[in-house]
C-alpha cells in the first residue's frame, strides 16, 4: 500500500505540476510601510495571505504583471500562486515598499 501511494504521488507530481500534492499557506504582512518577510519562498499552488496592518491602503503588485492585490487599511486578502519564477513586487501607492517572492514549480 505505501509503495502504491508513493507511486501515485509521484505520478501526480509528474503528470500535473499545477496540482501540487501539498499546498502551504504563507503569510506576508505589511506594517509600518514595511513588507515582511522581505523575501519568501513558495511553491506553485501555495496560498499567500496578505495582511495589511497599516491604516494606509496598500497593494502587492508584481513588477512582471503576474499579480496585483489591493489591500484596504487593516484588511487581509488571499491569493494562490500560479506561476513559477522570482517575482519582485511593490506597493503601487508606496513604491518604497518592496519585496521578493521566489516561486518554485
Amino acid at each position: 500500500m505505501p509503495a502504491r501511494l508513493a507511486s501515485i504521488a509521484l505520478a501526480v507530481i509528474f503528470l500535473s505540476i499545477s496540482v501540487p500534492a501539498r499546498a502551504a499557506t504563507i503569510e506576508i504582512t505589511m506594517e509600518n510601510l514595511v513588507i515582511a518577510p522581505a523575501e519568501v519562498s513558495a511553491k506553485v499552488g501555495d496560498t499567500i495571505i496578505w495582511i495589511n496592518k497599516d491604516v494606509f491602503a496598500h497593494t502587492a503588485t508584481a513588477k512582471n504583471g503576474d499579480f496585483d492585490v489591493t489591500l484596504p487599511p487593516k484588511k487581509s486578502a488571499t491569493s494562490v500562486v500560479k506561476k513559477a519564477g522570482t517575482v519582485e513586487y511593490y506597493c503601487r501607492y508606496h513604491p518604497n515598499m518592496k519585496a521578493t517572492l521566489k516561486i518554485e514549480p
Binding site: 510601510l33 491604516v55 494606509f56 518604497n96
Partner: protein
C-alpha cells in the same frame, strides 16, 4: 497623524524663516501644539489634493493627488483617534496659523492656473511642501514629542511623507 505631519511641514516652513527659527529654537512645541501642527499640515495637503482633483489634467498628477488624499486622510483619522485616546486637546499656535495662512495663499495662487501650468505648479509645491514637512518632523516635531505614541505616529508620518516627496519628485521630473 497626517495632520501632525502637516503641522511639521508648517513648522519646517516657519523654521526656514529666521524670525521663526529663533522663536522655535527657544520654545520647544508641546504635545498638544505638535498635534495641532501635524493635523493642520495634513488638512493643508488634503485641501491641495482636492483642488488638484478638480483642476489637474495629467493622469499621473491626478493619481498623485488621489494618493495624497487617501494617505493624509488616513493619518489624520489616526491622529484624531490618538488625541482622543490620550485625552489631549490640540492647541492652536503660531506655527499652525502661519501654515494655514501660507497654504490659503498658495491655494488662491494655484486657483488662477489651469491645464499644464496648474499641474506643474501643484506638483512643484507638493515637492517643496513635503520637503519642509519632513525636515520639520525630523528636526523639530519628532525630537520634541514627549508621548511615545505621538512620537511613533510622527515617525510613521515621516516615513510616508518621504515616500510622497519621492513620488512628487518623480512626477515633477516626468512633467518636464
Amino acid at each position: 497623524m497626517f495632520i501632525r505631519w502637516s503641522a511639521a511641514v508648517a513648522a519646517a516652513i516657519l523654521l526656514s524663516s529666521p524670525a521663526l527659527q529663533g522663536a522655535s529654537a527657544a520654545d520647544k512645541p508641546t504635545d498638544p501644539q505638535i498635534a495641532h501642527i501635524a493635523y493642520t499640515a495634513g488638512v493643508i495637503d488634503i485641501n491641495a489634493a482636492k483642488q488638484a482633483q478638480k483642476k489637474a489634467k495629467n493622469k499621473d498628477v491626478k493619481a498623485f493627488a488621489e494618493d495624497m488624499l487617501r494617505d493624509h486622510e488616513a493619518v489624520n483619522k489616526q491622529a484624531l483617534a490618538l488625541v482622543k485616546k490620550l485625552n489631549v486637546t490640540p492647541e492652536d499656535n503660531d506655527t499652525s496659523k502661519a501654515l494655514s495662512k501660507q497654504a490659503g495663499d498658495k491655494l488662491a495662487e494655484l486657483d488662477k492656473l489651469s491645464g499644464a501650468a496648474f499641474d506643474k505648479a501643484y506638483v512643484a509645491n507638493e515637492v517643496a511642501y513635503h520637503k519642509a514637512v519632513n525636515s520639520a518632523l525630523e528636526t523639530q516635531l519628532i525630537p520634541s514629542a514627549s508621548n511615545a505614541e505621538l512620537k511613533s505616529l510622527l515617525q510613521t508620518g515621516l516615513k510616508i511623507f518621504q515616500g510622497h516627496q519621492q513620488h512628487a519628485e518623480h512626477v515633477a521630473a516626468e512633467l518636464k
